[in-house]
């Protein structure tokens, strides 16, 4: 049975077996060579699996049962905000008026869709303290690239071509330096201080007239609030740079404080994190970018505008960075986020932030006697432990993560942020009950005890999953990317 669980659909194939038998063709038969030029017709038969309908259904049902998601259990993946996705969002996105429209339909026939985009821009602008939001970027890193292109266009439009540098903290998400590099910037790293925030003196020494901006996550990837954010913004602005807010951790502050009020000029949000749209498995994501007034002309086109005859797509934007995605972004995802915002309202968002912070601090206090806590201060929506004590006893953070699978959990983020050795980054989110948190805490305590008593057992985990410990190094060094018969 075990072997069958793992089999590919190709391995179940039997020549001639079919799921569907098509009825006789009721239009005149034409050979394919009359319809498609010969050079496009394949010469060998496609190697497709030949299975019955029930084989296909069982195969994919089995695969879906091997999957793990927020609908199956607790998923404390730090920096990813794997909160529950309310099903009412799906109902709204499936309404015919949203789901059955075509992107080339005339504007006057999709006024409701345009209004929804326009209103979502207004609501996200209010939530972030920005003046305008583009809903085009398809996910977080795409939002980063879009935001950085806007920063670049802003400086160049002022006739300032010297600003080639983007500063990122050493605790930054890996996407920050990657997005800066792909947008053509040089990346400089600023160190963190002993409290886990940006080292202001180090930042000052890096600032000059070649710096285009600073990318920052607040709270940062240690789950800590940048206490000096106003000072940081002053330092960057005084040298002519702009501040970019990576919204990956916005769940901790939403409804309470706003990046725009902290001094940020450009913001991206992850609708698939903070705004409860599906995350993982391809999402798809959505990474809206908000800007302050001076940057509006550079937003990607089109921008939704409104005049006396209704809503329209404005392409007449000479300073725009251009299109960053086909059509209008991941529209269905925006509908889900809109539904979420409307269901929560302003006070609801405050609850989201407060409960997500409370839940993370609860875990921090319950586990800090078992796991090393490198920055022992009140955390925001996530807490970063170090598995160093356990590593010294013979089982590393990777082993702890693998062992959590046996207890039925998706492991937390591990080995990130890079400035914490053996990092274990836990983000419970606000949608989990105290009972769920207590069960997880118990599992973590049990694992720490197992490591004391028999580290070898933890090192061999997992034992209960459909595939056991994978050889990740071999998979990366010697990947098998295609199936061969």
């Amino acid at each position: 049975m075990k072997k069958k669980d793992k089999s590919l659909i190709f391995e179940m194939s039997v020549p001639g077996r079919k799921a569907v038998t098509l009825p006789d063709c009721d239009v005149p038969y034409t050979d394919i060579s009359n319809l498609i030029p010969g050079k496009f017709i394949r010469e060998t038969e496609a190697e497709l699996p030949e299975v019955s309908e029930v084989d296909a259904v069982r195969h994919y049902t089995r695969l879906s049962q091997m999957n793990y998601g927020v609908d199956s259990g607790f998923y404390p993946l730090g920096s990813c905000t794997m909160k529950y996705n309310p099903k009412v969002n799906e109902d709204m996105a499936n309404l015919d008026g949203f789901a059955k429209v075509h992107p080339y339909q005339p504007e006057e026939t999709v006024q409701g869709c345009l209004e929804l985009l326009y209103e979502t821009d207004r609501m996200l602008s209010e939530i972030t303290g920005m003046d305008r939001v583009s809903l085009q970027p398809a996910a977080g890193a795409h939002g980063e690239m879009t935001g950085l292109m806007i920063i670049k266009a802003y400086h160049e439009n002022r006739g300032d071509f010297k600003r080639k540098k983007i500063i990122v903290p050493d605790s930054a998400h890996g996407t920050n330096p990657a997005s800066a590099a792909i947008t053509g910037f040089d990346v400089s790293e600023v160190k963190s201080d002993e409290r886990g925030g940006v080292d202001i003196e180090a930042l000052k020494s890096l600032m000059n007239d070649e710096v285009a901006g600073l990318m920052l996550t607040n709270p940062n990837t240690l789950g800590l609030f940048e206490e000096n954010i106003v000072k940081i913004a002053e330092v960057v602005h005084a040298a002519g740079g702009l501040l970019y807010y990576d919204g990956a951790n916005a769940n901790a502050i939403v409804g309470i404080s706003r990046p725009g009020d902290m001094g940020f000029d450009v913001v991206h949000l992850n609708l698939h994190k903070t705004f409860s749209t599906p995350h993982g498995g391809g999402g798809p994501g959505s990474g809206p970018v908000g800007v302050k007034k001076d940057l509006i002309p550079f937003l990607p086109e089109p921008v939704i505008e409104k005049n006396e005859s209704g809503y329209y797509l404005d392409y007449n934007r000479p300073l725009s960075i251009g299109k960053v995605r086909s059509f209008y972004g991941n529209f269905g995802v925006v509908v889900k986020a809109y539904a979420y915002i409307c269901s929560l309202g302003a006070n609801g968002f405050k609850d989201v932030a407060q409960t997500s912070v409370l839940n993370a601090n609860y875990i921090m206090h319950k586990l800090k006697e078992y796991y090393k806590l490198p920055y022992d201060r009140i955390c925001m929506h996530e807490v970063v432990f170090s598995g160093q004590k356990q590593k010294d006893m013979g089982a590393s953070t990777l082993d702890i993560a693998k062992r959590l699978l046996d207890y039925g959990y998706h492991p937390p983020t591990i080995y990130f942020p890079l400035i914490v050795k053996e990092a274990l980054m836990i983000e419970p989110t606000e949608t989990e009950s105290k009972e769920t948190l207590d069960e997880f805490i118990d599992a973590m305590i049990k694992i720490s005890e197992e490591i004391k008593e028999e580290p070898e057992k933890v090192k061999g985990a997992p034992y209960t999953t459909s595939v056991l410990r994978l050889d990740e190094a071999k998979a990366a060094r010697d990947p098998k990317l295609i199936h061969t018969q």
Partner: protein, 127 residues
């Protein structure tokens, strides 16, 4: 954590083996141990002129991709192409698996580096 007497060490966890005005540069046992199993090594271009602190290459493990900095300035004379095929050599024998050889432009930079004892002490303090 292993060190080898006679090599120079940087606080960024690189080792330097000096041979005349040439320097072999690799990453330390401590570095490979923290990174975990290395799956990819990006080498510099031969002939590249590097200042101390510049990126010499990248080592990527299952956990993270990390820049390797050259602790000394010079021109890249040779690169260890074997690591492209067998990056695991860095895990197996870190002090034999040099990444590149630099033709040194400033021998006095070597004085700023640590010896084996000083480096071990530094790693302990860092932990």
């Amino acid at each position: 954590m292993k060190t080898v007497e006679g090599l120079k060490y940087s606080k960024e966890h690189e080792w330097v083996k000096v041979d005349g005005n040439k320097a072999y540069i690799g990453i330390t046992d401590h570095a490979q141990n923290s990174l975990g199993e290395i799956v990819f090594v990006e080498l510099p271009e031969t002939g590249a002129e590097l200042n101390s602190g510049d990126v010499l290459g990248v080592v990527e493990s299952v956990k993270a991709a990390s820049d390797v900095y050259t602790p000394v300035s010079g021109v890249v004379a040779e690169v260890n192409e074997e690591l492209e095929e067998s990056p695991e050599k860095i895990n197996e024998a870190p002090y034999e698996s040099w990444i590149a050889v630099l033709e040194l432009s400033d021998l006095s930079e070597l004085d700023k580096l640590l010896d084996a004892g000083e480096y071990e002490k530094y790693c302990k303090e860092e932990a």
